[in-house]
């Protein structure tokens, strides 16, 4: 059924349809309407889920670690400072190999206080062992949550589904909401390998000496390496059932373009219209949407950029001292390759400033006109 819903409502539908057993969350703008929606649904009896209304994000994730260890399907949502506060527990969730799914609504981290869209929150958690999937629109938000549980439970790693503050979280769009039956046949109940059973007592997350610790980390890396294949199968299956699929990346616009523009999140939607217009005007440019940030889709990207001479990246995030994080990861992934197009790293839209079609046009124009970037960080729309 098609409904006109916000990104945060799409999250709530994703949670309902995934038959989540335990939700634990703490309010933070712009995530709050997710927990409000879920509270309403649970209070009205439409959703049979235990909701732990904890006293902090740290406890929200800790409670899910307990619940997931207990063998049930879990969900939480947060943003910004809340995600940063969870940091320790994010490592714990992946280290304990728990398939928790969390939504992070991208928001800048203060100071100065700022509640608007900025990817620095989720990207500063990139080394915590979580799979990270970025969404472009509300339909993708809902669909990605359904896919996330299947991926998480197969590889035994947690998944962070990421959407932009306000641009998606509080903006209504038409979304096809699948039926419970359709989702049930796609997403089977969670069957953990080692659920808690007092008849067969086990010790979980036991202290481990240097002679064994590294092997546990190796196994996490191996699980991450399975993600491209597993998520492709999940996405293919999803596409065959629901007629929609996303891939780890998506290339659009002119084939065999010399200039490629790489974006993530809602900036991709704006870029689509800019690139369509430029293609009509005869410019050889194409777009590259990055959905999966962890594990970084190096192979997929390399396959999609063959022939391109220049890659422009727009990062709505900043790792101070380095620049945009997507650009940094892209450079690292290209280094061992034979064909290494010039990477133009643009930083723009921090703290929710609009990344307008004009700014995107400027980035493309700069990339077309320059054989190589004049600076390692190209600030787009900065008031100097």
């Amino acid at each position: 059924m098609k409904r006109v819903i916000t990104g945060n409502q799409a999250v709530a539908y994703g949670v309902i349809l995934s038959r989540v057993d335990v939700v634990s969350a703490y309010p933070i703008t712009p995530q709050t309407t997710i927990v409000e929606e879920l509270s309403e649904l649970i209070a009205s009896g439409r959703l049979k889920t235990r909701f732990l209304k904890v006293e902090s994000e740290h406890s929200a994730m800790a409670a899910l670690i307990g619940a997931s260890t207990g063998g049930v399907r879990c969900f939480t949502a947060t943003s910004s400072h809340g995600l940063a506060y969870m940091h320790e527990m994010l490592h714990w969730a992946s280290g304990a190999r728990l398939p928790i799914v969390m939504v992070n609504v991208n928001r800048a981290i203060g100071p100065p206080w700022n509640i608007w869209s900025d990817q620095s929150d989720s990207l500063s958690q990139r080394d915590t062992g979580w799979i990270q999937l970025y969404c472009e629109n509300n339909q993708e938000v809902l669909d990605t949550i359904l896919q996330a549980y299947l991926i998480a439970e197969k590889v035994k790693l947690p998944v962070m589904v990421v959407l932009d503050a306000f641009v998606l979280s509080h903006t209504s769009e038409p979304v096809e909401v699948p039926s419970m039956e359709e989702v049930d046949s796609f997403l089977p109940p969670f069957c953990p390998d080692y659920p808690i059973d007092t008849q067969e007592p086990r010790a979980y997350s036991v202290i481990t000496m240097p002679e064994h610790f590294m092997e546990f980390r190796y196994k996490i890396q191996k699980a991450m390496e399975e993600v491209p294949d597993v998520s492709k199968k999940v996405d293919d299956e999803f596409r065959s059932r629901f007629g929609r699929g996303y891939g780890a990346i998506e290339r659009y616009g002119k084939e065999e373009a010399e200039v490629l523009l790489m974006t993530s999140g809602t900036v991709t939607s704006t870029s689509r219209t800019v690139i369509r217009k430029l293609n009509e005007d005869g410019l050889s440019v194409a777009g590259l949407k990055i959905k999966r940030f962890r594990p970084f889709p190096s192979e997929e990207i390399y396959g999609a950029i063959k022939g391109a001479k220049k890659l422009a990246v727009i990062d709505r995030n900043l790792s101070a001292g380095v620049g945009g994080i997507f650009a940094q990861e892209l450079r690292a992934s290209l280094y061992p390759r034979e064909e290494r197009p010039q990477v133009f790293g643009f930083v723009s839209g921090l703290g929710g400033r609009d990344i307008t079609p004009e700014l995107i046009g400027q980035a493309i124009q700069y990339t077309v006109e320059h054989p190589q970037p004049e600076e390692e960080i190209l600030w787009l729309g900065l008031k100097r």
């Binding site: 057993d21 335990v22 634990s24 235990r50 732990l52 209304k53 904890v54 006293e55 902090s56 740290h58 406890s59 929200a60 800790a62 409670a63 899910l64 670690i65 307990g66 619940a67 997931s68 260890t69 207990g70 063998g71 049930v72 879990c74 320790e88 527990m89 714990w92 808690i196 059973d197 007092t198 007592p201 086990r202 010790a203 979980y204 997350s205 036991v206 202290i207 481990t208 000496m209 064994h212």
Partner: protein, 292 residues
């Protein structure tokens, strides 16, 4: 005190790594006897992350869930929620946290769980300091005590935090103090706690020979003197309101308790008087709360 049958089953196995004379090892042994096999115990960081041994071994014969330092009560809330969803309301979910994990870093999560009246049994194994990291002060360290972060030139300036009053004021159904010198009282309280729904809190006093600079054979004796000197009175609080004090008639001056421990060996006569006054005052406060 009435005699109580102590279960024969041992749920703390051989080969654990506790120090000689560890009061908490006796506490744990008795606790696991009282709680039985149908128990899941959550362990935020403390000596008890190490004591059962290293992977792939564990001397716990019950289900043990090791957890982040801050998270004892939060992780346990999640385990409880999972069991509830699975339709298991028989299995007991317990937390075993140190005083650091309870009085200090874990207090927010504990307060949250207690306010929600989560159905779990929280045991604070209090050895009055960060003993696993080598005896640093916590807010459970007593007034004027030596620790590695309160050296004798500047011993602890503040009295111990009143964790029982804090827990009682969350109006939880049951809170009790207990110690190994009174094992029947300890087991009775654990069994009573086990039969109650909601958040239950046991404040367990466990001497630490290396941290307290005391002889390893005196853990039980020092526990008993802690009760007799009213350093650590035994009592129960039901619903944050109804107090029952297991009053020890053989009261001794606090000096008797202090003199057996190197952590107090720097105390002057004046310091001992100050300590005695503090203990008397805390006892009066307890009696006042119990009368209200």
């Amino acid at each position: 005190m009435n005699k109580i049958k102590v279960p024969i089953t041992e749920n703390l196995g051989h080969g654990h790594l506790a120090c000689a004379g560890c009061g908490a090892a006796i506490s744990m042994r008795l606790t696991l006897k009282a709680l039985g096999e149908k128990t899941i115990m959550v362990f935020p960081a403390s000596c008890w992350s190490i004591v059962p041994g290293f992977w792939p071994y564990s001397s716990y014969r019950i289900t043990a869930v090791h957890a982040g330092f801050v998270t004892g009560a939060a992780t346990a809330s999640g385990v409880r929620a999972a069991l509830d969803v699975r339709g298991d309301d028989e299995t007991l979910v317990a937390v075993w946290a140190g005083d650091g994990g309870t009085f200090d870093i874990g207090l927010q999560a504990l307060s949250g769980a207690a306010e929600r009246n989560e159905n779990l049994l929280y045991i604070c194994n209090d050895n009055e300091g960060y003993m696993n990291t080598g005896t640093q002060r916590s807010s459970a360290t007593p007034l004027l005590a030596w620790t590695t972060t309160t050296p004798v030139m500047q011993p602890k300036e503040n009295p111990k935090k009143d964790i029982m009053a804090i827990m009682a004021d969350h109006h939880i159904p049951y809170a009790a103090t207990a110690t190994i010198a009174y094992p029947e009282d300890l087991i009775r309280k654990l069994e009573k706690a086990k039969g109650i729904r909601g958040t239950r809190f046991i404040h367990l006093f466990s001497p630490c020979p290396p941290g307290w600079k005391m002889a390893s054979e005196q853990s039980v004796k020092i526990s008993r003197l802690a009760v007799r000197s009213r350093i650590f009175p035994l009592y129960e609080i039901e619903n944050g309101r109804d107090y029952t004090i297991q009053e020890e008639q053989r009261v001794v001056p606090v000096r008797e308790y202090l003199k057996l421990q190197g952590r107090f060996s720097h105390l002057t006569e004046k310091d001992i008087e100050i300590t005695q006054a503090n203990v008397d005052d805390t006892w009066e406060r307890l009696l006042r709360r119990a009368r209200c």
